[in-house]
């Protein structure tokens, strides 16, 4: 369908932009979060405020989890035994809560930006 075909250039542009992203972000600080037994480790992450950052979330469980934070406005599914990078910031000083949506009761944490 013509309509669907029209979206291909959009996709190509987005893909092109996505592929060029690492060259722009090369200098970001990366912080690692680990998901194990449906819990985040560490449960609190201290980060510098006012800078662009990257969160590397490693899922050591065999089942998928969804990192979700309304405070940070980020959501990302991470497959079991997988990992994902999430870019955040620059953050104003404060506390930003996040959860693992699939196991909200135990998977909770917060990022404190100073």
């Amino acid at each position: 369908m013509k309509q669907a075909l029209a979206s291909i250039p959009l996709m190509l542009i987005a893909l092109g932009a996505g592929l060029s992203a690492p060259y722009v972000l090369a200098a970001d600080d990366t912080f690692t979060l680990v998901i194990k037994d449906h819990r985040f480790d560490p449960a609190q992450l201290d980060v510098p405020a006012g800078k662009k950052l990257k969160l590397l979330v490693k899922n050591l469980d065999t089942t998928p989890e969804e990192f979700e934070s309304h405070d940070l406005k980020r959501e990302k599914v991470i497959a079991g035994n997988g990992q994902a990078t999430i870019s955040i910031g620059p953050l104003k000083p404060g506390t930003y809560k996040f959860v693992g949506e699939y196991h909200e009761a135990t998977a909770q944490g917060r990022i404190v930006a100073k």
């Binding site: 369908m1 309509q3 065999t62 089942t63 998928p64 406005k73 980020r74 497959a79 997988g82």
Partner: protein, 288 residues
């Protein structure tokens, strides 16, 4: 079980609302139930595939594959919804009058029907992929949870469908003469909301600038956690704390589609005025 129900409900609600609007907007079109069901089924198949390839997608495009995929799917839906409204601007009146005279059997609606079925499929695919992953996770872990998970999932879907059905029945109460106008507006807002959502994913992927972290903060009024917030989120694209770029995309989608609709509508009027002028001339014209 409750946790499962809540998560399933959230995703099912969004898809159910899209289905309801599509069903209301296609009232009278032949076999629309079949088309919409096809869309749902196709969406579920797609969702399973996306869930299966979740780690591949996530790792793609230097780690922002998931955001790009979500944004693309959303923008495709925006284009399809926009196309539907533009098509209706051109042909809506013919469609509505043939619906009045012929009752249920309206053949003219086949093309927009296909497009709207695709919109349904895409909505189910987006929401469904997260669901499939979640349910797989629950099923794969604690064995004793299976029956609880099934009940929870069914409850969640049921609740989502119930709200969708309430919307659909509410829309059906609108007199046929106005129904297409109302659903046209709902589709317009649906599209604008999806454009805004797509923009948010591109900000998350660090491809678009945010242009302001939070143009307004109405979390205290309507948070996006509750049912009201999620319904408004789907129907009009409500976000309690939108990025500036989200507002831009929203207005551009809204303005863009409206402009195209007006242009097409004006063309239709011009050509039908010319036809009317021809037909009313005193010289006998051969009938078409």
């Amino acid at each position: 079980m409750l946790a499962t129900a809540i998560i399933v409900f959230r995703e099912a609600l969004e898809a159910a609302l899209v289905v309801s609007i599509v069903l209301a907007a296609t009232r009278g079109v032949i076999r629309r139930g079949l088309w919409v069901s096809g869309g749902v089924f196709g969406g579920l198949l797609g969702a399973t595939a996306v869930a299966f390839f979740a780690d591949v997608i996530a790792a793609a495009a230097s780690g922002v594959g998931q955001e790009l995929f979500n944004a693309t799917v959303l923008f495709v839906a925006v284009i399809m919804l926009g196309w539907h409204n533009v098509w209706m601007s051109r042909h809506g009146r013919e469609l509505a009058s043939s619906l009045k005279s012929a009752g249920e059997a309206v053949r003219g609606g086949a093309r927009p029907m296909r497009v709207l079925a695709a919109v349904v499929g895409v909505a189910v695919l987006r929401e469904g992929s997260e669901l499939v992953l979640f349910l797989y996770g629950v099923a794969a872990s604690e064995s004793g949870e299976s029956s609880g998970m099934l009940t929870g999932a069914l409850t969640g879907v049921g609740a989502g469908v119930a709200i969708g059905a309430a919307l659909y029945l509410g829309l059906l109460r609108i007199p046929s003469s106005r129904l297409f106008t109302v659903t046209g507006w709902m589709i317009l807002l649906l599209a604008a909301g999806m454009a805004s959502q797509g923009a948010a994913f591109l900000v998350q992927a660090d491809i678009l600038p945010a242009l302001g972290e939070s143009v307004w903060d109405t979390t205290a009024l309507v948070s996006d956690q509750g049912v009201a917030g999620r319904v408004l989120h789907t129907l009009i694209g409500y976000t309690p704390r939108p990025y500036g770029i989200q507002v831009v995309f929203y207005l551009v989608a809204l303005g863009g589609i409206l402009t195209l609709m007006k242009i097409v509508n004006r063309t239709r009027h011009t050509s039908s005025n010319a036809e009317a002028a021809l037909n009313s001339s005193t010289t006998p014209q051969p009938s078409n």
